[in-house]
Symmetry: D5
Subunit: 123 residues, 10 copies
């Protein structure tokens, strides 16, 4: 089992339109980690929706951060909350939501959605 | 006809992020029980949506609990309400909804949706 | 042309969870009646959504009631309102909606939706 | 129960391009008859595919012919074969296929396909 | 180029359930008119949603009214507003919305939606 | 675990058009049996395609025969071949194919297709 | 009613790869003409598939040719055969097929497919 | 790399129904620009939704304006905000939203949505 | 990078119907390996279709074998051919096909299909 | 307007399984070039299907080759044939097909398919 990636692996760039509230949606269908109980891989689509404040998420580093979870053992609920925390730390967004939609196993499908409302808004 | 499963067959684990309200959706398309009037099997997809408080639903036990209904004779409205009651007893969630979407019979499709609003919320 | 069915043809059974507001959706894609102007058959999907109070709709009688319209001559707007009235009479529901979604004729598709809000609710 | 319609109710018009083999597909999704055993209505989509010889099928009469089956009691296999026979009698086509795709009942869907190869072809 | 049809070409019949607010949706996918600039035909689906007051829209006359636009030269925004005006004049509805969803041209698709809120409502 | 049903539970009726080769397709999406290794239920859609000779399959008995497998422990490959054998025994068809399309488990979906060519054909 | 367009309205350009048999598919979903019996408009998607010999179809002229049918009264079978004939005259293709897939009317959908095999092929 | 187009390249025409708030949706699936970091092309569908005040967007100039971005190097967030600014400058709309839905790259899909609420409204 | 799994990791069980040619299709949508050039993960759906001779593929071992590729660096064409070779070695099937349908990268999707025809067949 | 790319821009790597005939399908939905007549951009999905002989197509170079067409003025039929020729020159495949499926313009969609059969095959 590998170590969890750190929030510091996420990179940002300055928001080109900080005077306006607007929404960015980023869908990453190739997330995979490992079930800590069975050792079997889990697969999910991560959907991130956020309103940037001063910073936007850099996509190349986001992709590498996602790949860093590949051999980490962690449950669905924990990994979705941890990634949301890392994104909030790195982006300090006005608003953010993250959904981890995991593939079916044992005939059962699970998705986990975390929502965050920041303190500051443009309007 | 078999006996109904008990709420105690459901298992839980501690919520890894109890300080935050977040939503978990679990879809189980392989529910089957028996019509108490005709003896014919009924098939449904159960969709559970909940906001955990201190406890999360353990999926393996949920799967076995669902399988325990296989040979129980019970109507659509009753079984959906009973399973919702068992989940509320086991999880004591902040919020919960359960839909039983039954396959068509005699050309007619039925779904039953129960919603529950707990007393306590993080925000 | 046949006579319209009566609301008394609808049958009910006691609501197994009268202490809770919950929703039942029943879809019947095989409704047919006759256009009183042209004599041509009309086809529709009836979708009933209701929150039961003391009574639930019995599905076998609902199916037979629907079949009783087969040779009745009646317009789209009238038949949807009449069936909604019969259901309100028979079920005395907390809340009800009925949609008749008719197949296209002359390249034009029509649907009619009636909503009813009863006086009494559990919460 | 009503009487079966006769092949003579079908009407034709002269093929505008008899020197060429070409294919006409006519789909009628509003066929309904009655199950002779249960008295319940059956619904189907009829799909006719044919290569005309001297005659083409007139659509208005085809529609009325289909409507004439509305209250006839007959099984899936028998009605599809009978309608195919009526079409072969009326059209004397170079080639013909008829499928009756019946709606699900008791959770089971049936379709019946009859193919006919006439003796004469343009090429 | 042909002359625009008049609102008087629309016909109505008495609402069979004037004591209740209910919704009628009528979809007509075969609208066509002509671009006044290029002379090329435009195609659209018209979707009308309304709550009748004393009058309902007669479908046969609606179909003929739609056909009357076939050779009229008019822009997307103007024709959708004009047809909405004609419907409001003819029906005096409690509420009405009309969408003209035009096919793509030059790789670009346009739809126009007009909403109208009448003064009078049943509840 | 229950006992396997016998081919004799299948019922037939005389083919109404034995002089013609034609095809009947019957789809049953509510097949379930039990994995003999894990005890977990398996779910499948059975699709039967056949050309009748002297006999057609009676649908009500087919439905009950399918239900008889509900608590039988048997693998995918074995149950599909056994049901195909029972159908060949009961129907003596001119031609037959049976597919068992099983739901995904462990992220993996399996389907099994058996084809049979009888000795006798109409043409 | 307007006059039928002539084959001479179709334009061509030299095939850029005449030494090779290859296939061009052109789909035009905005064909409309008029029913000669009822005066109501008919709508269709024309799908042309051909293997060019010395000439390819020029698309702008094809579009205008299609528009020329807008107010012509003609039946489905006749118009599909006539357009195919015009295309064969103009293109002298190695191989050609034309399908006119007409919208449903009176609940019934029709499509007409003409195939042509030229005398000359590259291989 | 090419120069960015100017807002003055957008053209308008007088709103034919300025007394009414209504909505226009324009979808352009063929937007392409260039990633300033990698030099690889980016592709997106632009969806504009607006309520016109005195001016409507002329579609031909909109198409040419979109094409002017073809060889401009700019990031997703910046280009969507810039185009929204140009549209607000040119149209002075009552309300406007613009979404740039970019194709997946590196397995990750991004969309950016800007919303604008003008000061003036008809009602 | 991990070592490639061996064909000996695949397990089999005796074909329950060796006297008949029949087809088994197994779809595994959760295959992942690593690009040897970029180090980025690749994702694919593997679809195996085979006619068993004496042996059938055991699904649990197949799942584990697939998981063994998780950290192996190998190209699309090579991995699909290697897995096909391992399956042919383990199963000695009468007939086999394997498709690896890889997710899009750089906007480009690839799939690789290998077919094998064994020497021996039942009929 | 830019210059056409050369076949030499395509790169290859040795086929890892030259003893076997197998099929590779590569779909590139982001092809764009320019109409030489109107100057407007054209967009297409290129689908390449081939059986490699000694060489496989390198995907990164294929992507750059496709991008080189971005500002070239060329018709649909010509560009599809030219790219097919370049691929045949570079790959010397056992078998190849290339389809260019262009987006609709003026309401009309075109696709061009070129097929090539090489002289040499493994079986």
């Amino acid at each position: 089992m590998a170590k969890q990636p750190a929030a510091t692996e996420l990179e940002t760039f300055p928001n080109p339109a900080p005077n306006r509230d607007y929404e960015i949606v980023i869908e990453a269908p190739e997330f995979t980690c490992v079930c800590p109980k069975t050792g079997h891989p889990d697969f999910a689509t991560l959907t991130l929706t956020y309103t940037p404040d001063k910073l936007c998420l850099e996509l190349k580093a986001w992709k590498l951060y996602i790949q860093s979870w590949r051999n980490v053992g962690i449950f669905h609920e924990a990994v979705t909350n941890t990634i949301a925390d890392d994104l909030i730390t790195a982006l300090k967004p006005r608003k953010l939501a993250l959904t981890g939609a995991f593939h079916a196993h044992g005939g059962i499908t699970t998705s986990v959605t975390v929502e965050y409302q920041g303190k500051k808004a443009a309007r």
